[in-house]
Amino acid sequence: MPFLTPLETEALLLSLRVALVSVVFALPVGLLVAWLLVRVRFPGKSVLDAVVHLPLVLPPVAVGYLLLIALGRNGIIGGWLYDSFGISFAFTWKGAAVAAAVMAFPLMVRSMRLSLEAVDPGLEAAARTLGATRRRVFLTVTLPLMAPGILAGGVLAFARALGEFGATITFVSNIPGETRTLPIALYTLTQTPGGEAAAARLAILAALLAFAALIGSEWLARRVKATRGAAARA
């Protein structure tokens, strides 16, 4: 990329990778959780709901710290992962993806929930009378009808992941080339005297990125809508 400094390119590519990976892994989990929250009754539902929302309401630094406690190399789960499999999240871009996924998760679930709630249960009922099991109904009716919401949730999560800062820096620190994502680079510049111009460049870069994701999602959503046929003029 000719217009970007090598540092910018590095941060950009890293951010993209982190955001993408986080969304890809969070998506199925988010779907499951949204489904549980909307369509299933079970004890402890509100606890699950609360836990899902935790990253939204806690300051990001606190979330990062909790992640560190859980997934750090001396953490409860992290220690076990490291000892058994040699997997380590701390100080790696994978950890950054985990942090981004956790922070974006509530937004994703929210969006999916709204769209799931808008799916007409009458259509699901119809599918079941046609012999479809719950699973097939979900895959062939519910999921496609939720598609706009999943898309919206995914993009929102992607955007949020791109902008994730507090939890990331706390959990995986700022390691150039490994975990220095766009927002971390940008933050660094705002704390540097005379960093304004470079910071502005990065801000514009981040905005463009978000822009591209949004336009892509709008385009996809329009295509989905077009294939369903438009309703009457409003």
């Binding site: 710290y65 560190l68 406690i69 750090g72 190399r73 001396n74 953490g75 701390a90 100080f91 820096i169 706390t170 995986v172 620190s173 700022n174 390691i175 975990t179 933050y187 660094t188 510049l189 705002t190 704390q191 540097t192 005297p193 005379g194």
Partner: protein, 234 residues
């Protein structure tokens, strides 16, 4: 009743917080002081943008320079209040005998050395300068991880995630850490207090004086700082 606002680098909180109470008591209701803690860069930008600060306290020479040059602080009445030192810390249970020698990169193994971000925090800048003078900066590339401020470095180090270079003032107060070795500085780490230009009310001047008083010096010492002209313990 007057209220004096002092914008202070976050790492000075343990020393300044009790002194604001002491000042209010000394003033006997005529005036009191309130401390605003944040990253030096954040505070400096706020002052440059018209924040109602009376005094600025920071160890970050870059921002002090910048504010002085733009006329936002009065350099002529600037004073060094206290001094800090750098130390290499290890978790209590880490029994290795590490020093800042040429073998450090090898002894780290797949562990990391945690620093404050040189671009963000004066601690980082001083740490970097020290490593450079020890010719360790280059060899340690790839083994370094940055946190945005001194407290964050301490928190992470206390979790046993890595070794770290921190302020002695903080290391003293962290029960989970032991000091492995002092870090020789290239220049003394000094905290400068400067009045914000155009806001030299009498009460602000009294606070300035109070912070230079003997009572204040005791407080600094109690918080782990040393006197401006004292040497770092080795």
């Amino acid at each position: 009743h007057e209220r004096v606002l002092i914008f202070a680098a976050a790492s000075t909180a343990p020393a300044i917080e009790p002194l604001t109470r002491g000042f209010a008591k000394a003033e006997g209701g005529k005036a009191d002081a309130q401390a605003v803690f944040a990253a030096s860069g954040t505070l400096a930008r706020q002052i440059a943008n018209g924040a109602p600060a009376d005094l600025f306290l920071s160890a970050d020479k870059r921002w002090i320079e910048t504010l002085a040059k733009s006329g936002h602080i009065d350099r002529t009445r600037m004073a060094a209040l206290m001094r800090n030192c750098l130390v290499l810390v290890l978790p209590n249970d880490d029994r290795r005998r590490l020093t800042l020698s040429a073998t450090l990169p090898k002894e780290l193994g797949d562990g990391r050395l945690l620093l404050a971000d040189p671009a963000l925090a004066p601690l980082g800048a001083y740490s970097k300068a020290a490593l450079q003078s020890l010719h360790l900066w280059e060899p340690l590339q790839g083994r370094l991880a940055f946190q945005p401020n001194a407290r964050a470095v301490l928190a992470l180090a206390a979790r046993g995630e890595a070794l770290a270079i921190v302020y002695r003032s903080g290391a003293n107060k962290s029960p989970g850490l032991r000091i492995a070795a002092p870090v020789p500085e290239t220049a003394p780490i000094l905290y400068f207090l400067a009045p914000v230009a155009g806001r030299d009310r009498p009460a602000a001047q009294r606070l300035l004086a109070y912070l230079k008083s003997d009572a204040a010096r005791t407080a600094y010492r109690r918080a782990g700082f040393i006197a401006v002209d004292a040497p770092c313990p080795s």
